[in-house]
Amino acid sequence: MIRLDELTKVFGTPAGDITAADRIDMEVPEGEICVLLGPSGCGKTTTMKMVNRLVEPTSGRIFIDGTDVTKTDPITLRRRIGYVIQQIGLFPNKTVEENICAVPDLLGWDRKKSRSRAAELLELVALDPAVFLKRFPKELSGGQQQRVGVIRALAADPPVMLMDEPFGAIDPINREVIQDEFLRMQSEIKKTIMFVSHDIDEAVKMADRIAIFDSGKLIQYDTPDDLLAHPKNNFIADFVGGDRTLKRLRLITVEEAMMKDPPRVTADDSLSDAVAKMEEHGHQSIIMVGPRGRARGAIRLSDARGQKGRVGEHYSKLPTTVRINEDLRNAVSAMFSADETWLACVDDDGNYKGYITQRGITHILGATYRDQ
């Protein structure tokens, strides 16, 4: 856990004093990612660097797991905090292995232990140790360097990580890949992380909580969904963007928004049974599933009413389905491109799990406003 208490930094410059951090109060709970967000020069980096004492606070205090950082020896402190900078900062004179082992070496770990850990960590980010351990940084691509930069900070297994735009120096596509990779790692290692970004999309994706700064002040500190749904003032609303509700779509999975245990029919059911089921639920159509429960097709009320025969003879193909672990943004996109107001939701094996409607999505997005 990281706690900042009235943290203030004033830089004295020839042109006058600059308050880069103005009485910041915040707490990053154990195992969570807190993203510091804000326009350029608002004090994100300064605030973060005070945690590992690369910048000494003018006043205020910082606690990591209850111990006052300002009273800890900075060298010892920094070896217990993983640190990643935007320029990555791999040492060009050292191999990938030596880079990863930098902190373990400082801590005097057994060589064998640290070297095998380096190999493990490389595998964690999908780099083959046999290929990469002995390479030098100049022999890596930008994305590979970034990965090595992150695992180097993880090498000594620090409980706390500080990351200053760690994925900034990379193209958008690879950035997504690395972000996903990192989130997967974090779900296992559960570090307490302070993460600087200036990209709202990255913040929404990575953060458990977002702290938005403006000229040295912490303006709002909330979960991504609350921040997007309830921006505190115009500055925040402008900063998160006019499409902020669309951004919230990313935060909700299909599973959370869908109607579960939906009615269904099989190919052998008669059309009159299907009609009865639809009328019972007030639906305009119903999904036909296969023998193992996979969504196979749909049958419309208007087509089935008054007809004789079996469902298997009259069903129509599904235009598209959406998987339950996707986010609502993908669901909405699929709905719009198929020109449908509802979609069948399936799991990874294609089993029919529920359905999602445009109304249901509107409803779940609006819930946060109705609760107030």
Partner: protein, 310 residues
């Protein structure tokens, strides 16, 4: 802040044109110059390595062999070769000197005379041992305030011709090998200090930040990050410095320092072409040899990750 200031400050490096580099202007020589210097150096050295490694095209080999043969034939016909051969004992003595003289000199008996190679070794090693640590020390953040001023002094020092340095040295220390060693030491020192300083202060600040952030002490940062990353530039400085050194040693004779200069200058004075060449040819060979050795050192000792040659 200090570091940033010293980084942006003008740094000037020696390149392979150490002798001619007297058109010095303090302003506007920045790290870029250092970089392009390194590139040019790298190009030049790749060439030298190619020759050294014997990867000459056969065609070139034939031309060289023919030229060498023609030269040899001419030398033989004019009797120069014979007169060089007659001087062989002198050449060997003036090149290597005697071990006893070296030990005596090093143990403080400065009346002993150092000959050619001992002069190079003693003054060169001394300059490396003093120059590298001094340059690194100047690049420390707490020295930033004085470092630039000191570099200016060194720059002015470089514009003084080496012969004048020897003369000045003689006027203070008298005649013999001591003023020669001292003069050579001073002339060799400057490029070494400057490159060590420039190399260390041009290590990117984000490397320092990432090293500090992971909990290295200032000393660890210096030894594990700054010096290794500056090593290629430091080596380039040593190469230039020793080229100056080897080129100046013949002048040591003029202040009683010993060495092959004796044959060259006496050859000139006596109008004895053979004697002059008996001095000049080994001097030239030695210069090539020393640079070859250092090029190999630079190639193999500088870590691959920061070695543009590898």
């Amino acid at each position: 802040m200090n570091r940033a200031a010293s980084e942006d400050a003008n740094v000037r490096t020696y390149e392979d044109d150490g002798f001619r580099d007297t058109d010095y202007q303090a302003a506007g020589r920045t790290r870029n110059r250092l970089k392009s210097g390194i590139d040019r150096l790298a190009g030049a050295m790749r060439l030298a390595d190619a020759i050294g490694a014997g990867t000459l095209k056969r065609f070139n080999g034939v031309i060289y062999a023919l030229a060498l043969f023609a030269l040899g034939a001419w030398a033989w016909a004019s009797g120069i070769l014979q007169s060089i051969w007659e001087l062989r004992d002198d050449v060997i003595y003036l090149t290597f000197g005697e071990w006893r003289d070296v030990t005596e000199f090093l143990s403080g008996d400065f009346s002993a005379t150092l000959q050619h190679i001992p002069l190079v070794l003693v003054s060169g090693l001394l300059a490396i041992l003093v120059g590298v640590p001094f340059g690194v020390w100047l690049s420390r953040p707490y020295m930033a305030r004085y470092a630039e001023a000191l570099m200016q002094v060194l720059n002015v020092g470089t514009t003084i011709p080496t012969l004048a340095i020897l003369a000045l040295s003689m006027s203070v220390l008298g005649i013999g090998s001591l003023p020669a060693v001292f003069g050579l030491f001073v002339a060799t020192l400057l490029p070494i200090v400057r490159n060590a300083y420039a190399g260390c202060s041009s290590v990117p600040s984000h490397l320092i930040e990432s090293a500090t952030g992971m909990g290295m002490t200032p000393r660890q940062i210096m030894m594990r990050v700054e010096v290794p990353n500056a090593l290629f530039v430091i080596f380039a400085g040593i190469r230039t410095a020793l080229a100056i050194n080897v080129g100046t040693v013949p002048l040591a004779f003029l202040i009683g320092g010993g060495g092959l200069g004796e044959l060259i200058f006496q050859g000139i004075a006596l109008n004895d072409f053979g004697m002059m060449l008996a001095g000049a040819i080994p001097v030239a060979l030695l210069a090539v040899f020393v640079d070859f050795l250092l090029a190999q050192g630079q190639y193999w000792l500088v870590p691959r990750g920061v070695n543009p040659l590898r």
